[in-house]
Assembly symmetry: D2
Homo-oligomer: 155 residues x 4
């Protein structure tokens, strides 16, 4: 919001992985659409569920856990219960122990996202909460999910 | 909990209609399973989504809305994000302007429910909030969803 | 709902301990009042916060944790964001390893509760999840919180 | 996260208005601290509750409602149930029909915020959902809440 560039919706092609989520009655606020807060719950779900599906996160036993240090969302159009939603995910930036994910909330079969988010995880040791460098197999996954993956892959 | 009868899990056969719901990262509480509160959000969702699917509820424009006057849940076993869940629904009692729904939370393909709930809606006028008698087409739906429906149908 | 006795609101005198809670914008659902689900979040909060305040629960390190096996609520009148709320608590029944709490949701300075709940905790070992008998100091607290405490005290 | 400037915590002096909020048991996620999503619920609450307190928002009857078009948060340190929290608020930017609020989440009596957020409201007509210019009395309030208010006032 600080720069001269106005955020614009992205399409499904701008994401690498999708998670289907259902909406709930209480997601709708008094104005009849999904409350702005709930989108972040969908981001959280999409990132963690995708990591679990790839065998990269064990909520209960993993020594390394992901803490959120930054998140953001631009809202373009409304979604509302009982809409079915797909959350698209890709990786915008890979740091030593951090990852910035891009997330898109798609209503039904819409081609363009209703909301576009960012979500930065820092991976830390569960006990000490100190940053942990990405393991090689995790790094490989992050690269496949990277926005620049097709180009990178073609090198 | 007041009587000598201990609640027991029911099976999928004890319900008439099912709604598939997804779990969310934040559904898990500090003990690593879905927080007891979230089950009620699934009940709310299952009842309203089923009514909307049958054309019996228009959240934004209906003159008649359903207010919850009683709810309850017995918890038998844990569910947790990222479990997929089915919520089973049937009608236990039909009053003049009220309905008592039975709800079952089924983890994945489990045959027996992990939690069993009750949810009593009173249907009221949106503005006056006074009880409204069930319309004939709504009553017909409630009867099809009734626990005693097979017997009734066979008459 | 099963018996002929219709639930009625209780007054502040029917509770032993109170926890002040604030409401949130997203507590209000599309009908403009606090969603029925949120009341259970207040019950959960009141019980656990009261136990923590008395030194009877350490969320992170306790060997014994409380699992909810039953909850219920009767709703008498609406509350809504931005109402301030007090949640009253007392103990209705003490089992070997379980406790049934009574909870009342009071809007502002209202004398009668807007909603009346029940919440049954079974205390279990964090690892094995097997029931644990109440420790003597916990039992003493539960008796002070008991609905029949004044009578007992006068003996 | 895009620029070279790393976000840093602000102090209570960097905010103009405060709202006290209580935490809830289910705010804590499986890692034992308040889930990243919940902060946004506190932002939403602080902005709307402050507006209601000033007579600038009537949830049920106002012709003008605030829709969120952007939100963001940087997380510096953890808060957790049962922490008491103050949410600080000020106005960073006033547009024709939009406002960018700055929000700070303060744990207990901490001087520095645990999280720092942004929240952009566009004020629209409830029915048409088209932007509405700020009314003079609303503009006056926004200016008093502005980060540059002391300087402006002294002119």
């Amino acid at each position: 919001m600080k720069t001269g560039t106005r955020p614009v919706p992205l399409s499904r092609n701008d994401f690498k992985s999708f998670v289907a989520v259902t909406t709930r009655w209480m997601d709708n606020d008094v104005y009849g659409h999904m409350n702005n807060v709930v989108y972040y719950s969908l981001f959280d779900t999409a990132v963690n569920q995708s990591l679990i599906a790839k065998g990269m996160l064990d909520i209960h036993h993993a020594n390394t856990i992901g803490l959120v240090v930054h998140s953001a969302c631009n809202y373009f159009s409304s979604v509302a219960f009982p809409d079915a939603i797909s959350v698209g995910l890709c990786v915008e930036h890979i740091g030593t122990s951090s990852v910035r994910y891009r997330l898109g909330v798609f209503r039904g079969d819409d081609e363009m996202c209703a909301a576009l988010g960012q979500f930065v995880h820092v991976y830390v040791d569960r006990e000490s909460r100190r940053p942990v460098e990405h393991a090689p197999e995790f790094l490989a996954l992050l690269r496949r999910w990277s926005v620049s993956a097709p180009t990178s892959d073609s090198v």
